[in-house]
Symmetry: C2
Subunit: 283 residues, 2 copies
Amino acid sequence: MKQVTTIAELRAELTGQGAVGFVPTMGYLHEGHLSLMRRSRAADDVVVASIFVNPLQFAAGEDLDAYPRDLDRDTALATEAGVDLLFVPDVTEMYPRPVLTSVSVDELASVLEGATRPGHFTGVATVVAKLFSIVGPGRAYFGEKDFQQLQIVRRMASDLSLPVEVVGCPIVRESDGLAMSSRNVYLTAEERRAAPVLRRALTAGDYLVARGETSPAAIAAAMTHVVTDEPLAELDYAACVDPATLRPPDRVAPAMQLRLLVAARLGKPRLIDNIGASAPVSE
Amino acid sequence: MKQVTTIAELRAELTGQGAVGFVPTMGYLHEGHLSLMRRSRAADDVVVASIFVNPLQFAAGEDLDAYPRDLDRDTALATEAGVDLLFVPDVTEMYPRPVLTSVSVDELASVLEGATRPGHFTGVATVVAKLFSIVGPGRAYFGEKDFQQLQIVRRMASDLSLPVEVVGCPIVRESDGLAMSSRNVYLTAEERRAAPVLRRALTAGDYLVARGETSPAAIAAAMTHVVTDEPLAELDYAACVDPATLRPPDRVAPAMQLRLLVAARLGKPRLIDNIGASAPVSE
């Protein structure tokens, strides 16, 4: 694996290469990231990954400076996962002067995560558009863990006719169901034991959907109930939405595909999780 | 010259071709557009032009439906100018569903044209980003006539690391100094005779700059005076700005490069014009 830090080097390395697969990350890699890299390794000629903790997507007071970093470990893990080229720009390489340009998908960005993190998804869409320009991938891989981010990137790529296929990949979980996240490292031992409550809430919601519950509010209430029963967890939201609009449908119709999402703070770290759910074919 | 109407056809035609030059237009071609096409013909392997009257950049009440169109004439002119591939998508090809994604360069878009046309430059930046994605040009050519648009596209390309060189080309003028524009066709004979007042105002401003005037407000006032002296013209703005920020400098310093811009309505049509001006080296 080769590591490069500048846009010019990266472009030079990729000139005349075959189909490029791309896995953008903020580093501190875990099995979730590695699953994306392996997926690209199996499908693409050249596998490019990036590690860039993007200031644009952190608001003042968020954990930009405290975001965990371990480049040596990341380099070893990316090499093992089959990455050919690791792009690790610093902030001045990516943003040599103030970024006046923003890419937004407002209608998908104002709800769920966006409701408590204003500007977050504009920062995400802008850096992803820029990374796509730099890397020029045929396929780009994103985890379903950040489901709203995945849908926003998909919509951006479609609306702007970006010549890239955005591939969503399943969430990778710990053995007790906790979704893998770089932020899990912040959990105390006690919080870590409580953290699978997010997944349990989603399972409860999924059970109601499978049983034929037609009220998105009732499904969200059941998930809320599970999370609020855990004293260490402070719920942010629990939602049952149409995956395309990220809004609750008026009513769950037969065979409808839904996404259940939950966000909660466990001590300092804020965790998110989600699953797909399918309404039964006939009521 | 080949004409295509779909993104898929265009991409198929360009696969494996050499360096692509691109001239995006809204059609109703005049010498200004043709000068961009000829410039690309001289520099690039393949010359692509597009004709697309982009609804996103027109506000309600603007002249979207009345915007002049003449595809047969445009096709003949583009052929003569050396265009290889003319891309003429309809609105449903470009926007098959609502466009939720927007590309903005707010700081450059809120002044001058943007002050009276809210949303205009977001529509421009969004469609240009999309057309760049579709065509994948190495160079793209824009007239200096729409100077603010040129600076916004340049900044967008730079901020997002788009792999395209944005080439600004000189304004092409009628023999009496009027900048060529598709909207000139709306002028009555009397308005047409009065229209060179914009250029005369710019010349007056340039004269003051060359003489060592250091107050941007005084330079703007001189231009304003020329336009308001013409009874058929209704001034929108006259400005003396730093070309990078599109804001007036506090004071014109020696050797400073400036842009003088003016916008006025002549009857129904609204016309714009601009020139570069250089402050003398020593005061």
